[in-house]
Amino acid sequence: MEHTKHLWRAILIWVIVTIGYVLARGFLVPESFGKYGHYRGDNVEEQMNIRVPRHGAGIESCAVCHEDKVKSVAQTPHVVINCETCHGPLRTHVEYDSIEAFLENPDDYDRTGPMEVHSAQELCIKCHDAQSAKPKGYPQVVVVTHLEEREMELEPDVCLECHDPHDPQM
């Protein structure tokens, strides 16, 4: 068998290639690959914890402190609107990661940030400006003529002079 050295050479090359492949794969493939599918499974958890929610859990979050307000709004058509739609995200207001963490620190109850409210002009008009694309039956006004009839000017809080956003029915 004088040609066996060719065979051994081939086997050696194969062994080196295999070991190299196994090593490279071990280093390159993420540990959690294949946990849920053909991707790095750890990213699913990373996405869950990518940030603390900025908005609260809806009207219930606000009712923890502002129960009276929530109850009065509940009697009006504006009950369908989440508080944070107009007032901005809860977290910028209480400056805590969660309402639970906020409540655990009674000394900081007065350390609340400003609630981000747009000027009433922008906020009311965004929803109630008359536009052909809005659904029929949705309460909307032509702002220009609505103000002209009442001899008023378009100012930032002009809507609030007659209308209360927390009790819109007149």
Binding site: E2, V22, G26, P53, K126
Partner: protein, 263 residues
């Protein structure tokens, strides 16, 4: 070979067969078994959300176009919740205006973020007009995941399409592949960015920012694995449409009252 006999030939044949089988086993089975511990310098923060099993849920989204008033609250809420860079939108609202003749006039100033101006241009002859909120459809047959060369885009067991920003190289192939234009390359991270259906919120049992901000109940996110879920009821009982069904992407965003003009 000098002593080439049948016996030697068979011996060689057997030897190579055994070697081949062995090599196949080694190269197929071993790589999956061997895991190399890499030095992890970063200590992972304690997971805030535990006990959430992605296999228990399958999310779907319903948008009722009869109700949308184009106020842009969803766009603003999404921006604030997810730190979406200026000029880019994970969700946006389009306004369609269409008459008997001609093409639909479509506009979306700032993604509808600040509402819509009272339209004066082309108002004559417009017989129907409506708003269409758009976002990632989280398709079942995703063109974006298919094209990703790095395996950074993926689908979760609960039906979301997400981007692993540690794997993404920002090549933008998925941005081109998405027929709904719902992806963009973030100017901050230089990776693909898109709607995640607020995965950090829904995995905590909260609503997505856009659903919560919607004042007219236009947007709804539901878990269709739950028999009594209102969204599942709507999909099962009402006439819902999807965007560009001819592409067979099988989106999980369902629209009530979809018009033929909407792409």
């Amino acid at each position: 070979m000098k002593d080439s006999s049948r016996r030697n030939f068979l011996r060689m044949l057997l030897g190579t067969t055994v070697l081949g089988v062995l090599s196949a086993i080694v190269s197929v089975v071993l790589p999956g078994k061997i895991k190399f511990a890499r030095a992890s310098t970063k200590v992972q923060p304690e997971p805030i959300r535990t006990g959430y099993n992605p296999y228990d849920h399958l999310y779907s989204y319903v948008i009722d176009l009869h109700k949308c008033i184009g106020c842009g609250s969803c766009v603003r809420a999404c921006k604030m919740e997810n730190d979406v860079p200026t000029g880019f939108y994970r969700t946006w609202v389009e306004r369609y205006q269409k008459g008997h003749e001609g093409r639909a006039k479509i506009d979306s100033p700032s993604g509808g973020r600040f509402g819509f101006p009272t339209s004066t241009a082309g108002v004559e002859g417009v017989s129907k007009a409506y708003y269409v909120p758009k976002m990632c459809n989280h398709c079942k047959n995703t063109p974006c995941v298919q094209v990703c060369p790095f395996g950074a885009s993926y689908k979760t067991p609960d039906g979301l399409v997400l981007v692993d920003d540690k794997r993404c190289m920002g090549c933008g192939y998925c941005v081109q592949a998405c027929p709904y234009a719902s992806r963009f390359i973030s100017p901050i991270s230089h990776t693909a960015d898109k709607c995640t259906w607020c995965y950090h919120r829904i995995s905590r049992g909260l609503k997505t920012a856009c659903v919560q901000a919607c004042p007219t109940d236009t947007r709804k996110l539901g878990d269709i694995n739950d028999r009594y879920d209102p969204v599942r009821y709507i999909i099962d009982n009402e006439r819902v449409g999807v965007l560009q069904p001819h592409l067979l992407t099988r989106p999980k965003c369902y629209y009530i009252g979809l018009d033929k003009e909407v792409r």
